[in-house]
């Protein structure tokens, strides 16, 4: 499994980086930490590039490097990377790769498990390209900023998207798993099983009877899902909740929930213009939300 963690400002990205690295560590997967720099107008892109080269030559940090240095120090402080004299960040080498991608290489770096990269341009385009080129399975991004970014990420990126909102290191979390009979829901169940096993988290399975579905049918789905977890020796509770799917799940989710949802099976064009239930839940919930693909 490969994980992409997108970071922005320093303190602002701490929860995203912390949760991202915990997931990466428990699944023992390779991780890319990406900083996407500001989009440069075409009028000035060559001028900016010349200035940045000049800054490198003068051993001055080019924009974005300080954020990656902060991320690197954070990984050392949390012991995700072992600190040695040979792998100090001061001795970094910036390797220009294709499509505005730059990789930070540290002289003493031996492990390929964690990559620090820098990209410049429009954030959705850059993260989409990163996921497509390096086949990441999960993209982890902070919950702040422009809400439209999360919608576009879920719509266009070929990986699961984890929106880290209001995450606290000291809180004991439980998984909130809304289910129905869609294919997306099956994928969410699989992911929730993996997460629950790795972190020993309790799971709450919920379902909302909607449309023509009878309460019996929904209870059947809940029972079937519970059995899947029981087979993996994971403790679960089930609940059938009333109301519209989005509002009732948003109201049910607490600050200590991690909501795991499947991607909507709706037509992509309808999703783009009118949104989808998973997306609305991700936008309205005040807790971390993972939309699986």
């Amino acid at each position: 499994m490969k994980i992409l963690i997108a970071i922005g400002g320093r303190e602002f990205s701490k929860p995203t980086l912390d949760l991202g690295m915990k997931i990466a560590n428990s699944f023992k997967c390779s991780t890319t930490i990406a900083y996407v720099g500001k989009k440069i107008s075409q009028f000035s892109e060559k001028d900016v590039s010349v200035v940045h080269q000049n800054l490198d030559d003068r051993e001055l940090y080019r924009p974005g490097i300080r954020t990656l240095e902060w991320a690197y120090d954070f990984l050392i402080s949390k012991k995700y990377i072992e600190e040695k004299d040979s792998n100090k960040f001061d001795d970094y080498l910036l390797v220009d790769e294709e499509n505005s991608r730059m990789k930070v290489l540290l002289k003493g770096q031996q492990s390929d498990k964690i990559d620090l990269i820098m990209r410049t341009g429009e954030i959705i385009e850059q993260l989409k390209d990163e996921v497509e080129t390096n086949k990441h399975d999960i993209t982890i991004i902070g919950g702040g900023g422009n809400k439209g970014i999360h919608q576009k990420l879920v719509q266009f990126i070929d990986s699961s998207v984890f929106v880290v909102k209001n995450y606290s290191v000291n809180k004991k979390y439980k998984i909130l798993l809304p289910v129905n009979d869609s294919m997306g829901s099956d994928m969410a169940i699989e992911t929730a099983i993996n997460f629950a096993k790795s972190y020993k988290l309790n799971v709450e399975i919920v379902s909302v009877p909607e449309g023509k579905k009878s309460i019996e049918e929904v209870e059947k789905i809940l029972k079937k899902t519970k059995e899947k977890f029981s087979k993996n020796r994971i403790k679960t509770t089930t609940k059938l909740i009333d109301g519209s799917a989005v509002d009732s799940i948003v109201n049910y989710a607490k600050d200590d929930s991690i909501v795991i949802l499947g991607v909507s099976p709706k037509n992509p064009i309808m999703k783009y213009f009118f949104g989808s239930k998973p997306l609305s839940i991700a936008q309205k919930c005040n807790c971390p939300v993972l939309i699986t693909k």
Partner: protein, 469 residues
């Protein structure tokens, strides 16, 4: 749902989300093409104005690459019957385009020599007595150099100097943050203000000189431009110094000039010789702009500068080729070509007629009102559209307002250089923004005051100083 349908529709949606402004611009153009031609306009003139609107939208929102916009402009001029292919081709290349090309190459060659270290030594020697003097020196030197060599050259040389002295400042504290902003804005404002000083300060100046020559048969040489613009530059510098000191009050205790002195000591004999030759070439080119621009044109002289660096092996063609923004050159060439057609088809005269009709409805209609609207419009458009492209497209209208009075054309070009409001308006603003230390809001907040004062200075100078020249 069929998986391939999902993939295809998702790809189309992604293309649409990235290119939506291209789709909107094309739809608006098609809609306008289907309307009847306004009274007083010929069909080619109407079509040239539709292309102008299309280019404005595409350059502002950048949904497609600049070379694509340039090619589209040329293709549409011919396809929509604005001008025959030969006329479009001949208007595509002139001295202003050669100047854009030459100055970009010349800038890369100069920056490549690493003159910033030597320049930093000089600034410390002259202005190093106090930190406030040092910042004033950074601003003044940036302005003087930018007035002759252009913004992109100077910002590339000066920014490393600025970042060296602020590199260890803690920006979490207000005093430190203000020291960082004061340093960066001193360099940025110095560079922006300087670019109005001489024709070679910015491509927009050369484009306007070229238009004046072509449309009104008025010739403005290097010295004449300087006499008009340099006093404005000097007043603006003093004002900018106080505006920045007022906006970013700081003790400047955190600025480390001593640490920077250590860095600047690392020079060797080969570098010294290289720097000496570079300075000689720069002096030679600037002198030629003064002395021979009537004979050879500013563009050819700028090209000669880049050529000299290459002949002496001081920069390789690969380096120049890699760092030259060919897309911008193509775009300027195409917009200048469109500017010529807007004038030739009579579209600019029609716009000016409508503008004057609009002015007639105002209670107080005078030259001053039309000057103010034109100058503010040029300045604002340049801030949201970039300065050179603004002049290449609305320059013909500014000349048409008063073809024999150069103050309108000069004011339009100079006001277009007041890139204080947005980060997209000039390479300097974008480079400062790209450091991540200056936000767009901050740029706009300080810039609004500077822009307003600059327009007032320009107005007063055009009314009371230019008339005496």
């Amino acid at each position: 749902m069929n998986e391939s349908y999902k993939v295809i529709s998702s790809s189309i949606l992604f293309w649409f989300s990235q290119k939506k402004w291209f789709v909107y611009s094309v739809l608006i153009s098609i809609f306008l093409l289907n309307l009847s031609t306004p009274v007083g306009l010929t069909v080619p003139a109407y079509h040239s104005l539709i292309i102008l609107l299309l280019v404005f939208m595409l350059v502002t929102f950048e949904p497609i690459p600049f070379p694509a916009i340039a090619l589209l402009t040329l293709v549409l001029q011919v396809v929509l019957g604005v001008a025959p292919p030969d006329v479009v081709a001949s208007s595509f290349m002139n001295d202003a385009v050669l100047f854009v090309m030459g100055s970009l190459m010349f800038a890369i060659a100069i920056v490549h020599q690493g003159l910033d270290i030597r320049l930093a030594k000089l600034i410390i020697k002259i202005f190093g007595k106090s930190k406030r003097m040092f910042l004033a020196g950074l601003m003044t030197i940036s302005a003087i150099l930018s007035s002759f060599l252009g913004e992109h050259t100077v910002i590339a040389i000066m920014l490393p100097i600025g970042l060296s002295v602020i590199k260890n400042i803690d920006t979490q504290q207000a005093d430190g943050k203000n020291a960082v902003l004061l340093t960066l804005f001193s360099i940025a404002y110095g560079t922006i203000i300087g670019s109005i000083g001489t024709p070679s300060g910015g491509a927009r100046n050369v484009i306007m000189i070229n238009y004046l020559q072509e449309f009104s048969n008025v010739s403005i040489d290097y010295w004449k431009w300087m006499k008009h613009a340099y006093p404005i530059l000097m007043i603006q510098l003093v004002v900018a110094y106080f505006v920045l000191q007022f906006t970013f009050p700081s003790s400047l205790n955190n600025i480390k000039m001593r640490g920077f002195k250590k860095n600047v000591g690392k020079t060797d004999v080969k570098k010294n010789i290289n720097h000496l030759f570079s300075c000689l070439i720069i002096i030679g080119i600037v002198s030629s702009w003064f002395a021979f621009n009537d004979i050879y044109g500013l563009g050819i002289i700028a090209l000669a500068g880049a050529l000299t660096f290459m002949i002496f092996g001081m920069i390789s063609w690969e380096e120049i080729n890699k760092n030259t923004n060919w897309g911008v050159i193509l775009l300027f060439a195409a917009t200048i070509s469109l500017g010529f057609q807007i004038n030739e088809t009579g579209a600019s005269s029609w716009l000016v007629l409508k503008f004057n009709e609009l002015l007639a409805t105002l209670p107080s209609n005078s030259m001053n009102v039309s000057w103010s609207i034109m100058a503010v419009l040029s300045g604002l458009t340049a801030n949201f559209f970039t300065s050179s492209a603004t002049v290449s497209l609305i320059g013909p209208m500014a000349i048409e307002l008063h073809p024999t009075d150069i103050s309108f054309a000069l004011s339009s070009a100079i006001a277009s250089g007041f890139s204080f409001l947005t980060v997209i308006s000039s390479p300097t603003a974008m480079i400062i923004y790209s450091t991540g230390l200056v936000s767009t809001k901050m740029f706009f907040r300080v810039g609004t005051l500077m822009f307003s004062i600059s327009i007032i200075i320009l107005y007063l100078m055009s009314q009371f100083y230019w008339v005496k020249l």
